[in-house]
Amino acid sequence: MPRAAAMTVVAFRLGLLAFVLAVWEIAGRMVNPLLGVPPSAVLPSLRDLLLLRSYPDLPASLLLTVREIATAYLLAVAAGLGCGFMLGMHRLVGQAWGPMLAALYAVPAVVWYPSLMLFFGLDAASKIAFGFLLGFFPIALAVLAGIRQVNPQLVVVARAYGAGTVTVFRRVMLPAMLFTLVGGLRTGLALCVIGVVVGEILGSKAGMGALINHAYGLLRTGDYVALVLVTLVLIVGSDVLASLLERRARGWTE
C-alpha cells in the first residue's frame, strides 16, 4: 500500500483509540465514576498497584499464577505429545479414539471445572488441572493432524534407503509436521493461560484472579482495572513469547 494511504490508516486507528478513550472518560464520569471507571481514575490506581501500595502481595500473586501456568503447560505438552503420538502412530487406535477426542473438544471446557474444584479444592491444583485440560486438547489434536499430513511416500523412500524408526522420525516426520505442531503448542499455551486465569476468577484463594475478585468484591473498581491490565500484560506477553519461539522453530525447518 502506498505510504500516504498507510499513514491515513494509522491516523484513523489512533484517532479511533483516542475517541473511544474520550467517550469512556466522559461517560464514566457522568454515569457513576465507581461503575464507569473512567481512564483518569485508573491511572492513580495503576500507580498504587505498581508501587505495591494497594496490594503489597502483588509479586507473590503474579508468581503463583505464572507457576500455575507453567506447571499446567508442561503437563499439557507432555500428555498432549504422548497421546497425540500414540493416536497418530497406531492407525486403528487413532481412528477410534481420535473422533472421541474431537467430540470432547465440542464441550465447553468450563463444565469440567466444578468437578475439578470438588476434587482438588480451591488451591492451585484445581487451576493447574483446568489449565492442563484446556491446553491438552489443541496440542494432542495438532500432533494427530501433523502426523496425518506427513506424506507417507517420504517415509517409504526413507525406509528404502535403510533408515531406522528413530531416523525416520527425526529426519522425515518431524520436519514435515513441525509447522502444525508448533501452531498447536502455541494455541495450547494460550489456552493454558486462559484456563488458569478463568479458574482463579471463578474461585481461588490466591493468585491474580483472587486479587481481581477481591478488588471487585470491595467495589475498588480502579484497582480492579489496574489488576486486569497487569494480568493482560502477562497474557499478551506469554503469547508474544510463544510467537517468537514459533518463528525460531520455523527457522529451523527452512
Partner: protein
Amino acid sequence: MKVRILQLVTVIAGLGAWELVARAGWVDPLFVPAPSAVALALLRIGRGALAGLADTLGKTALAYVLSVVLGVSAGVVVGSVRLLRDVLSPYVIALYGIPKILVLPWIVLLLGYGTTPAVFYGVLHGCFPIMVLVMGAVRDVDRTLVTVARSYGATTWQLYWKVLLPAIVPSVLGGMRLGVVFCLLGVLVVEMFAGVRGMGHMLGSYANGFQAPELFAATALVSAASIAIVLVLDHVNDKLSRWRG
C-alpha cells in the same frame, strides 16, 4: 467397522474399570463416585436438571441468534469497506484474543445477576469468531465474480445480496459451528460466577455441597447436550454445502 467396535469396547471397558475401582474403595467416593451412583443420581435430579438445562440452552439460543446477526452484519460491513477493514482489523483480532473473563466482574457489576449478563457475555464470546471468519471471507471473495456481476449491470444492493452473501455462506456456517460452543461457554461461565439458575449455577452448587454423584450426572448431561448440538450443526452444514463438493 473395527473402529466402531474399538470405540464401544473402550467406553465399556472404561466404565467397567471405573465401577470396579470405585467399589473396591481405591478412590474416595466423596470425590470420585461410581458410575452406578452417577446413574442413580441422574434419575434423582432428572427433572430439575432438565429444567436447568432448558434455562441454560434458552439463554444460549438467545445469545446465539444475537451473535450470528451481529457477527455477520459487522463482518460484512467491516469486511467490504476497505478503510474500515484496514483500520479495525487489528482491534477486532486483539479483542478476539483477549480472555473476556477479565471483564466479567465489571459486566456483572453493571448488569447484575441472572439472565442479562449471561446473554450479554454469551454474545461477547460468540460474535467474535463469526465476525472474524466473515471478514476474512468477504475479503477473499473471488474478484472475477464481482466483475462479472457488475458487467451484467448489478446494482450495489444486488452485488451484496446475490454475490457477496452466497459467497460467504461456507464461512458463516463455519463460524456458526464455532459460535454455538462459545456462546454456551459464555453463558455457563456467568452462571457459575453470578447465576441464580441454569446448569452453570447447578454445577457450582453441587460442587460446593460436595454432592459428587449429582455433579457428575449434571456434567454428563450438559456435555451430551453440547455434543448433540454440534453434531446437528455439522449435519446441517453438510446439507447446505452440496455445491462445494
